[in-house]
C-alpha cells in the first residue's frame, strides 16, 4: 500500500470543484444574522495555511527560506488563533428572550422553533 499523496491535474480540479460547491451550499444556509461570525469563522478556517507554513519552514535549507518560512508560520498562526478567538467571542453573545443568560439545553426546542419560523 502506498499512502504518498499525489494530486495532479484533473484530480485537483475535482477537489476544488467539490470543495467550492460544499462551501457555497453550507454558507448559503447561514442566516444573515450570523454573517459576521461566519466570515470570521471562515477566516479562521483558511488559517490552516499555517500547516503549509510549517511544511515550508521545516524544509528550509537556506537562511532566506528560514526567514520567509518563519513569517509564513507566524502569520498563519496569527490568522488561525485570532480568527478562532473573535468568532468564539461573538458566537457566545447570541441569546434568545426565553433564556437570556444561559447556553444550556433549556428552552432549546423553543429557540429552534423560533429560528425555523424566521426562515420561512
Amino acid at each position: 500500500m502506498d499512502f504518498q499523496i499525489s494530486i495532479s491535474g484533473f484530480v485537483a480540479l475535482y477537489i476544488f470543484m467539490l470543495a467550492a460547491f460544499a462551501g457555497w451550499v453550507i454558507i448559503g444556509h447561514v442566516p444573515a444574522i450570523l454573517h459576521t461570525p461566519l466570515m470570521s469563522g471562515s477566516n479562521f478556517v483558511h488559517g490552516i495555511v499555517v500547516v503549509g507554513g510549517i511544511y515550508a519552514l521545516l524544509n528550509a535549507s537556506t537562511v532566506q527560506e528560514q526567514v520567509i518560512g518563519f513569517f509564513a508560520v507566524l502569520l498563519g498562526a496569527g490568522n488561525a488563533a485570532g480568527g478562532y478567538a473573535v468568532t468564539d467571542r461573538m458566537l457566545a453573545m447570541f441569546k434568545t428572550s426565553d433564556h437570556p443568560a444561559t447556553h444550556t439545553g433549556h428552552g432549546k426546542a423553543a429557540r429552534v422553533k423560533s429560528i425555523h419560523a424566521k426562515k420561512q
Partner: protein, 483 residues
C-alpha cells in the same frame, strides 16, 4: 521521504481536519449550534497543526542540518503569532471587529504568499503547471495581504478619506499588467535560464513588489461603507490563495479548506453587492459617493426637529416600534443604551423589533453582533426581507444613524444614485423618528427624501445622548408597568 507511518499520520489528521472544518461551518447555520461549530473546527485545526510536525521526518538532505533550528523556529513562530493574535482577539472591542477580521485575513494571505515565496526562491516547484499555480497563489495572497492592511487602516480611521486621483484606474491596470508580465517572465525564465535579463531572485522580488502594490492601489479608492464587500472579497482571495498553495504542497486539507472559504467569500460578496444593487466590479472599480453629479428630484416638505424626551414619550404610547440601527449607532457606542430604552418600552407593553439592512455597518452582519453584545435577544432582530411588509402596520419606525438604507428614492427616483437598491420601508410606518447627528448627507452623498416627509420628525444629537434623554423622559412619566 516520509515513511508509511508518518504518511498515514499526516494523511489521517488532514482528512479529519477537512471534515471537521466542513462540519463546523455546517453547525454555524443556526445561532443555537454555532458556538459548538467553531469549537469543532478548532479541534480540526489543532489536529492538523500537531500532525504537521511529522513532516520533520521527511525533510530532504539539504535541510537535514537545519532541522533542529527549523523546528525551534516553527514552535516560536506558532507561539508568537498565535499568542499575539489570540490576545488581541480576546481584547478587541466589538465595534472594531471589522478591522480585526481584516488584519487576520491579511495575515492568512501573507502566509500563503510567503509559502509561495519559499517555493520560488528555493526553486522547488516541479513543472510548469505547479509554477504557474504557485505564482497565481502568490499574487492573490499578496494582494489580499496589502489590500487587507489598507482596509484595516480605513476601518480603523488611520486613513479617513478615499484616496482618488485621475488616471488611477489606468495606473492600476498597468501595475496588474506588470505583475502578469513578470509572472510570465518567471515561467519562461525557469524553463530557459538564458532568457533571463535579471537574476531570478531580483525578478521574484519585483513580482511580489508589484503584487503588493496592486493590493494597495486597488483598495485605496474604496469608501468606508463599501467595506462589507471589500472584506468579503479579500476573505475569498485568501481562501483561494491557500487552496492554490495547497495544491503546490500536495496537501488536500489546504486545498479543501481554502476553496470552501473562497466559495463562501464569493457568496457573501455577491450577497453584499446585491444588497446595494451594484455589481462587484462597480464597487471595486468605480468611485462611488463622489459629489452627486446627477440631478436630484425636487424634495417637498421640511425638516421637523423634535426634542428627544418628546420622541421617547411618543414611542412609549405607541403599540409597536421597529428600530432601524445603522453605523451611526455603532459610532456613538449607543447599543447598550438602546437596549435599555427597548426594555423600558417593553415594560410598558410596546412591541419592539429591530430591522437590519444587509449592509448596515462595516462588515456583513456587524449590527447583529453589536446588538447581541448589548444583550438584545436575537429573536427580536429581523432581517430586511422578513420585516419590510410589517412597517405599514407599525406605529413608529425609529431610525438611528442610518441614512441611505431607508431612502425611499431608491424605490421611486430613477435619477438617484441608489435607485433600485433594496431598502427598509421605514417610510411606510405611521410615524418615523430619525436620530441623527446633523443634517449631513449619507454615504451616497444624496439628500434623503424620508427626512422631509410629512410623517417624519428629526431628533438631532449623538445617538447615545439622545437615548439617555429618551429613557429619562419615559421613566419620568412614572407609568405602571404592563405585564
Amino acid at each position: 521521504m516520509l515513511t508509511l507511518i508518518e504518511q498515514i499520520g499526516i494523511g489521517a489528521a488532514d482528512l479529519a481536519a477537512a471534515f471537521l472544518f466542513l462540519y463546523g461551518l455546517h453547525r454555524m447555520s443556526s445561532p443555537v449550534t454555532a458556538p459548538s461549530g467553531i469549537f469543532v473546527a478548532g479541534i480540526g485545526m489543532a489536529v492538523a497543526v500537531l500532525a504537521s510536525f511529522l513532516y520533520a521526518f521527511g525533510v530532504g538532505t539539504a535541510a537535514r542540518l537545519n532541522l533542529p533550528v527549523n523546528i525551534g523556529l516553527a514552535v516560536v513562530a506558532l507561539g508568537l503569532g498565535g499568542g499575539a493574535a489570540w490576545w488581541s482577539g480576546r481584547k478587541v472591542a466589538m465595534t472594531a471587529m471589522p478591522q480585526m477580521v481584516a488584519i487576520y485575513n491579511g495575515m492568512g494571505g501573507g502566509a500563503a504568499g510567503a509559502i509561495a515565496a519559499v517555493e520560488l526562491f528555493g526553486n522547488k516547484t516541479q513543472g510548469m503547471t505547479e509554477l504557474i499555480v504557485t505564482l497565481l497563489g502568490a499574487v492573490i495572497g499578496a494582494v489580499s495581504l496589502s489590500g487587507s492592511l489598507i482596509a484595516w487602516a480605513k476601518l480603523d480611521g488611520v486613513i479617513d478619506k478615499p484616496f482618488r486621483v485621475k488616471g488611477q484606474q489606468a495606473c492600476n491596470a498597468l501595475v496588474m499588467l506588470a505583475t502578469v508580465a513578470i509572472g510570465a517572465y518567471i515561467v519562461v525564465g525557469s524553463a530557459d535560464k538564458a532568457a533571463l535579463l535579471l537574476a531570478m531572485p531580483t525578478t521574484i522580488y519585483l513580482f511580489f513588489g508589484c503584487a503588493l502594490a496592486l493590493g494597495i492601489l486597488m483598495t485605496l479608492p474604496i469608501g468606508g461603507a463599501d467595506m462589507p464587500v471589500v472584506i468579503s472579497i479579500f476573505n475569498a482571495f485568501t481562501g483561494l490563495a491557500v487552496g492554490l498553495e495547497g495544491y503546490v504542497l500536495q496537501n488536500p486539507a489546504l486545498m479543501i479548506a481554502g476553496m470552501v472559504v473562497g466559495a463562501a467569500g464569493m457568496l457573501l460578496t455577491l450577497l453584499m453587492a446585491k444588497a446595494m444593487n451594484r455589481s462587484v466590479s462597480n464597487v471595486v472599480f468605480t468611485n462611488f459617493g463622489e459629489a452627486a453629479k446627477h440631478k436630484q428630484g425636487k424634495i417637498k416638505g421640511s425638516l421637523k426637529p423634535m426634542q428627544p424626551g418628546d420622541a421617547g414619550i411618543a414611542m412609549r404610547y405607541a403599540a409597536s416600534v421597529i428600530i432601524v440601527p445603522g453605523y451611526g449607532l455603532a459610532v456613538s457606542q449607543g447599543q447598550g443604551k438602546l437596549f435599555e430604552f427597548v426594555k423600558v418600552l417593553q415594560a410598558g407593553g410596546v412591541s419592539v423589533k429591530f430591522a437590519i439592512h444587509p449592509v448596515a455597518g462595516r462588515m456583513p452582519g456587524q449590527m447583529d453582533v453589536l446588538l447581541a453584545e448589548a444583550g438584545v435577544p436575537y429573536d427580536l432582530i429581523v432581517q430586511m426581507e422578513d420585516v419590510n411588509d410589517q412597517f405599514a402596520n407599525t406605529d413608529v419606525a425609529l431610525v438611528i444613524g442610518a441614512n441611505d438604507v431607508v431612502n425611499p428614492a431608491a424605490r421611486t427616483d430613477k435619477s438617484s444614485a441608489i435607485y433600485g437598491m433594496p431598502i427598509l420601508n421605514a417610510d411606510q410606518a405611521k410615524k418615523v423618528l430619525v436620530i441623527k447627528r446633523g443634517e449631513g448627507k449619507g454615504y451616497a452623498g444624496i439628500v434623503n427624501a424620508l427626512f422631509y416627509a410629512e410623517n417624519c420628525d428629526m431628533v438631532y444629537g449623538d445617538a447615545q445622548t439622545v437615548l439617555i434623554k429618551m429613557i429619562e423622559a419615559v421613566r419620568g412619566l412614572n407609568l405602571p408597568a404592563v405585564a
